[in-house]
């Protein structure tokens, strides 16, 4: 059996590369990560004319330099994996910019086919392209396509298969002016003679990269032949000095200038004809006039973000409830089927409750990513980043950070898990890390019942005001924490905010569905592996060691005594005993012992051991705080939605007062994120180190803040 034809889709961001990939592979695609980086690696298979084709969707790049992870990933893949054919997806309505990358593929000498995409958009703009002539002048076959509808895709892959079968590929030699050409004439023979990286790269390309001061190639060259590389670098320095003194430019600028010159020279040979002026404003520019307006723009943005938020959290509710009911039925059937004992307890409380709780987020994640995909594919997300960059830049973040903050609970009630996952839209690593470490400070939906409980218990006369203040405080703390991180552990220059704003387009339903599903599926897979393990561990901590036999017997005797007595409210009395037993069991558990041990520190913030247990349990999910407080305060099962009785109990409890309430409130808002978020952080950061950092940093900060609130409040006599 023949091995499949291996092709790579490459091109500028927004050139329609992923649209073509989705059209070709549909649901038969696999999303992973390139080794060591969090850049998505999309791979799929399809058949064309009895030929099986394996296709890789490379990250979108403007060039093949070493300035961004995406560029490195793309060029390393092309060089190391050596695809049979590279399909360069070029936006026909923006030919000049897109052909710049094509020039670099030509320099790299890879087998190339140009897919001239969006010819319909170009036609609407009055642009006609002579594809045959363009192909002849570039020395590369050019096929016009419309990836959205699939028009021309069959012809494209006829050409791809023909190109893949060719042994020899024509090459076009680009010229870079007398100075650089002379330097290349000197160094290329030395590279060939010395076999410097010639197994991997064409000698002329290596020479060009040395002149461009490409760090990755220089490192590889030094490792291969230090002496020859030093000699070549010396020649490069001479050239740089000469160009600096004569044209005040670095070699790479001169090289880029000649690439653009090459493109212009081709386009001027009647390859492109325009009905309208090249600088005419298109619909996209006219829309921008309104949506990025300094007054109307932010209002439109706020409305759209609020719409996304409402869509995500309102429309997903019925699915969340439905999933919750499904897991309740599952729990009930296990409860009825299995005999009482640790296995049953583990399956219900560890596996079903734990994984079920995590899978309960799936509808939220699905709806949120659908909304983000609409904003991203339509081109609006880039405008949001542009408008927000001014504010976020001050705090060491990026304009694109706004979306994760909103989703995580910027408008109270979001969820940090999709928020952390939404940081994928950020391309700069330090801003991305600062964003994903600070989004858990937002008031997610799981914190709301807890905030409602405590505010209701101690500040009921100003409930709305305190809820609003909690949202404002979350934003302030998150942004200041980001600033702090960017000044300390994530210190470094801010990434310049230079990005191309794609023209507005209507997203395709197929593209939206695929984007949504691939992210959701990644999350579901995680729930079945790491999260299952952690869930069982947390269950064990709150269950073992169980009550000593003597205590169990004592509670059983108390129940027996109530049952056999003549009391009227037997059920209530038995429930009370059950509550006390639950409290005693919790106190004796590993989590309980931790709670008691933590009292030596937490008492400075006014927390007793029962509060500590609830906070330890809150690591599983913030909603657990309410139910654990209920258990710890001898109320038995307390639903997160029905907190009125617990509220009264806390308000009357001698250990609690408004100052303790405020300290607990601050702690819950800012301490370690729930373990699902922690797993998401580890996954997105590519390391557990940052997940652990997030737990420690947030908890330490929250503790200091709570101690300060408690001590100052008590000193002022507000308790």
């Amino acid at each position: 059996m023949n091995s499949p034809l291996h092709i790579a889709l490459a091109g500028n961001p927004n050139s329609g590369k992923t649209t073509l990939f989705n059209y070709l592979t549909g649901a038969r695609q696999h999303v992973g990560n390139y080794p060591g980086v969090t850049v998505d690696k999309k791979e799929g298979n399809f058949t064309h004319q009895d030929t099986t084709i394996r296709v890789i969707d490379l990250p979108g790049t403007y060039s093949l330099t070493a300035y961004s992870v995406e560029e490195l990933v793309a060029r390393d893949y092309l060089v190391n994996e050596k695809p049979d054919v590279v399909v360069d997806v070029v936006d026909a309505s923006n030919l000049e910019r897109n052909l710049y990358l094509t020039c670099q593929f030509i320099e790299l000498g890879i087998p190339l086919v140009i897919a001239l995409n969006m010819v319909d958009v170009a036609k609407k703009r009055g642009i006609t392209i002579d594809t045959k002539k363009l192909g002849t002048l570039l020395g590369v076959p050019v096929v016009p396509i419309i990836a959205r509808s699939g028009q021309g895709v069959d012809q494209l892959f006829d050409t791809v298969i023909t190109t893949g079968k060719q042994i020899e590929h024509s090459t076009t030699l680009l010229r870079y002016g007398p100075d650089i050409d002379e330097a290349l004439r000197e160094i290329v023979p030395q590279i060939v003679t010395g076999n410097l990286l010639t197994d991997t790269y064409p000698a002329r390309w290596t020479g060009l990269k040395i002149l461009e001061d490409d760090e990755q190639i220089l490192d590889k060259a030094r490792a291969a032949d230090s002496e020859l590389t030093t000699k070549l670098i010396e020649r490069s320095k001479t050239l740089t000095h000469h160009l600096q003194s004569t044209v005040d430019a670095f070699p790479e600028a001169v090289i880029a200038d000649h690439r653009y010159g090459f493109i212009k020279s081709i386009l001027r040979q009647r390859v492109v004809s325009r009905v309208f002026d090249a600088d005419r404003l298109y619909t996209s520019d006219k829309i921008d006039k309104v949506v990025t307006n300094r007054v109307i723009g932010p209002l439109i943005m706020a409305a759209i973000l609020f719409g996304l938020y409402s869509f995500t959290f309102n429309f997903s509710t019925f699915l969340v409830d439905w999933l919750g009911s499904l897991f309740d039925i599952l729990s009930a059937s296990v409860d009825n089927t299995l005999p009482n004992g640790p296995i049953k307890s583990m399956i219900i409380s560890g596996v079903i409750d734990g994984v079920g709780g995590v899978l309960g987020f799936v509808p939220i994640i699905m709806f949120m990513f659908f909304g983000i995909a609409v904003l991203e594919d339509s081109g609006y997300l880039a405008r949001v980043a542009f408008m927000m960059d001014r504010i976020f830049h001050f705090f060491g973040l990026h304009g694109s950070s706004v979306m994760p903050f909103i989703v995580s609970g910027g408008i109270a009630g979001g969820c940090a898990v999709p928020g952390v996952m939404a940081t994928r839209t950020l391309r700069s690593p330090k801003e991305r890390m600062a964003t994903l470490l600070t989004v858990p400070f937002m008031n997610c939906g799981a914190k709301l019942p807890v905030l409602t409980l405590i505010i209701g218990a101690f500040f009921s006369s100003h409930q709305a005001r305190y809820m609003f203040l909690a949202t404002v405080a979350a934003w302030i703390v998150a942004l200041l924490a980001a600033k702090f991180l960017r000044m300390t552990v994530l210190k470094g220059e801010s990434t310049p905010f230079v990005m191309e704003l794609p023209p507005y387009r209507f997203p395709t339903m197929r593209g939206l569905a695929i984007h949504t599903w691939e992210r959701t599926w990644q999350y579901i897979k995680k729930a079945g592996t790491v999260i299952l393990g952690i869930s069982i561990l947390l269950w064990a901590m709150m269950t073992y060691p169980g009550l000593p036999d003597t205590d169990t017997a004592r509670f059983a005797a108390m129940r027996q005594e109530i049952s056999s007595s003549q009391q009227i409210d037997k059920d209530r009395q038995i429930q009370k005993v059950n509550g006390r037993e639950a409290e005693a069991r919790l106190r004796n558990s590993m989590a309980g012992r931790i709670g008691i041990a933590l009292e030596s520190v937490s008492r400075y913030a006014g927390f007793d051991w029962r509060t500590n247990i609830a906070l330890v349990g809150g690591f599983a999910a913030k909603e657990v705080i309410v139910s654990t407080l209920g258990t710890a305060y001898s109320l038995g099962e307390v639903s997160a939605d029905n907190t009125s009785s617990l509220k009264d109990r806390l308000a009357r409890d001698p250990h609690w007062n408004p100052v303790v309430g405020l300290a607990v409130l601050a702690f819950i808002m800012f301490y370690a994120p729930c373990f699902v978020t922690i797993v998401a952080i580890a996954n997105e950061a590519g390391s557990w180190k940052w997940a652990v950092f997030s737990m420690v940093f947030n908890t330490f900060f929250a503790l200091i803040l709570s101690i300060a609130i408690y001590q100052i409040g008590m000193f002022l006599g507000l308790g």
Binding site: Y67, F250, A253, Y260, D279, L281, F497
Partner: protein
């Protein structure tokens, strides 16, 4: 100083500042940072400054000496060497340019390093 050629094709995404003349590039005729232009219209890139990596990045995006581009959304008054009162331009130092058929958004630092003259 005011640009010599009113550009009827230009548009200003963020409205027009009171200090600026409508539909005119208002920046010094000798090369000055892009951040000092306070109107909309066509400009020519004369020089790029900043570190080598930043210059190379801009070159890859086609921002090269001799290239013409259209300033869609000026940052106005965020440039170096300006006196008091120029630190709060409406674009917050960010600007939007149309070049080689694409629209680029540039932050203050990048825009400061692009020296242009009006066309």
């Amino acid at each position: 100083m005011t640009g010599n050629h009113p550009d009827i094709s230009c548009h200003c995404l963020h409205g027009t500042d009171r200090d600026c003349k409508l539909h005119q590039v208002e920046c010094p005729e000798d090369a000055h940072p892009l951040t000092e232009c306070c109107g909309c219209g066509r400009v020519r890139v004369e020089k790029l400054s900043g570190d080598r990596k930043a210059c190379a990045k801009m070159a890859n995006l086609g921002v090269l000496p001799g290239t013409e581009m259209e300033l869609l959304c000026p940052s106005k008054g965020q440039g170096r060497g300006r006196g008091r009162g120029h630190g709060r331009g409406r674009g917050g130092g960010r600007c939007m340019v149309k070049i080689h058929g694409g629209t680029l958004s540039l932050d203050q630092l990048t825009a400061e390093n692009i020296f242009v003259t009006p066309l």
